[in-house]
């Protein structure tokens, strides 16, 4: 249940898997993303509402062949240039994309968490997103005849999230902006949670989301594992790091050097804790 980050990724993330690393600006599982690159996983379908710089890194490193998303950017800075390079120039490899709106993606996770094959929403109507994927369909209300939109459930092979705390039995506690993480974990076949701390007892916190251990496959203690995003109550967002990513991301060679230095040049344990610490 409590594993090292290296072990957690090795056991739970396989080549060709559909993998969601979720987080809405807050609690982004960055260290886990780097460990996936370090373990040279290939052929992943990456899923996330808001792919940001860690997805840019995974795409630039060639881990992914497909991206399912609703907004891909460097929040507060601009575009993701490794993502652009993959879509516009197939570098380092072609990247197939399937895009949705936030409302659509959120409801796809809700359907996945609920054991339903699809969700219904008022969305997409009149946009050019319709027709770009078979995963947006019209549906008629059997009571009013009104036409709405259906999207299919998302059920990742594995969802990875970062949280503030877990207890030794594997119950996970997060608070602050908790985004769609509960649904993404409940929708997944397996889940890996990196946490700031493992504690004996989870003292209740206002606004908390608690993920019971029976929906958590493994927990890895990775202090700082969300940096340069933030962990409410632990550390702040490193806005400079997001700014600094822009020039690195724009240049293939600079990105390559960054990858060697910051990912391959480090052990998993150096980027965060492990079970032994």
């Amino acid at each position: 249940m409590i594993v090292s980050l290296e072990e957690g990724v090795r056991e739970l993330v396989h080549d060709g898997d559909t993998v969601a690393l979720e987080g809405f600006t807050h609690l982004i599982p960055v260290a886990a993303g780097h460990e996936i690159i370090r373990q040279r996983r290939r052929g992943l379908t990456l899923v996330r509402m808001t792919p940001d710089i860690v997805y840019d890194q995974l795409i630039g490193a060639g881990s992914a062949t497909r991206l399912v998303f609703s907004w891909g950017g460097n929040p507060g800075v601009g575009s993701l240039h490794r993502f652009r390079d993959a879509v516009q120039n197939a570098w380092p490899a072609p990247l197939e994309i399937e895009e949705h709106s936030h409302a659509g993606m959120a409801n796809r996770y809700v359907a996945g968490a609920s054991g339903l094959p699809f969700a219904v929403l008022r969305g997409y109507t009149g946009t050019d997103l319709v027709g770009r994927t078979a995963n947006i369909a019209a549906i008629t209300c059997p009571f009013t005849g009104e036409q709405l939109t259906a999207v299919p459930a998302l059920n990742p092979d594995v969802t990875i999230v970062h949280a503030q705390r877990a207890d030794r039995r594997g119950n996970v506690q997060m608070w602050g902006i908790t985004g769609v993480q509960k649904e993404a974990v409940l929708a997944a076949r397996r889940s890996l949670v990196t946490v700031e701390e493992v504690v004996d007892e989870l003292e209740p916190v206002p606004g908390q989301v608690l993920l019971p251990s029976r929906v958590v496959t493994a927990v890895a203690r990775v202090p700082g594992g969300a940096a340069p995003s933030y962990a409410h109550g632990y550390y702040s967002r490193d806005n400079d790091a997001y700014q600094a990513w822009d020039p690195i991301s724009r240049d293939r060679a600079a990105f390559g050097r960054w990858l060697e230095r910051e990912v391959f040049g480090r052990a998993a344990a150096a980027q965060g804790g492990d079970a032994a610490r």
Partner: protein, 250 residues
Amino acid sequence: MSTRGYSSDEVMTVTAARALADGMACFVGIGLPSTAANLARRTHAPNLWLVYESGTLGARPDTLPLSIGDGVLAETADTVVSVPEVFNYWLQPGRIDVGFLGAAQIDRFANINTTVVGDYDAPRVRLPGAGGAPEIAASCREVVVVVRQSRRTFVAAVDFVTSVGYGKGPGERERLGLRGGGPSRVITDLGVLEPDPRTCELTLVSVHPGVEPEEVRAATGWELAVSPELATTPEPTADELAVLRSLTGR
């Protein structure tokens, strides 16, 4: 900064802030919309109720958030809900008075593109994508677009309809079953455009101080209609500028 003592971005932001009445519920995107909404909250609209798509309801940030998911939003909110809940329980049922959107391209019927420039399958520029915008554009009682004006951005027809304004013209929102009212104005660094009540076509209704209508037409990729009652935007007040600069740290 012009000789007038404020920049064109500043008059844009102040004008956008003024579009918000006190007590409104406002769905805020990051960047210009967030600056304008927070300026409004600090000036004439202290009870503006800010909703960010990260799930913070009623946020009262004391500093300008740098992303839609900043910690300051969670700390100052009335409550924080999940992302599914903010879209399903708050945006979709029409509880939001005004949605603030940006655009990479906008066309004469106020349709917005934030997806790709060029062909979808071989894009010239791949943009971030839809995010919350399609449903904000569909469901809010009205939508205000804040965007700098240029021929690159103001195009006759967008390359990709990410968010529907008035589609191909009058009656289209109704045909599509969209429940929100659609874009009520587009506020740029040059002036203010509003949809013509009859044709739905964006029409210049106000120019910012010192801006000539011809400048605005030259920055628009279609034959821009100009209202016969063309106004000049009221200047930002010293108080508005002071608050804005304290927010942006300029």
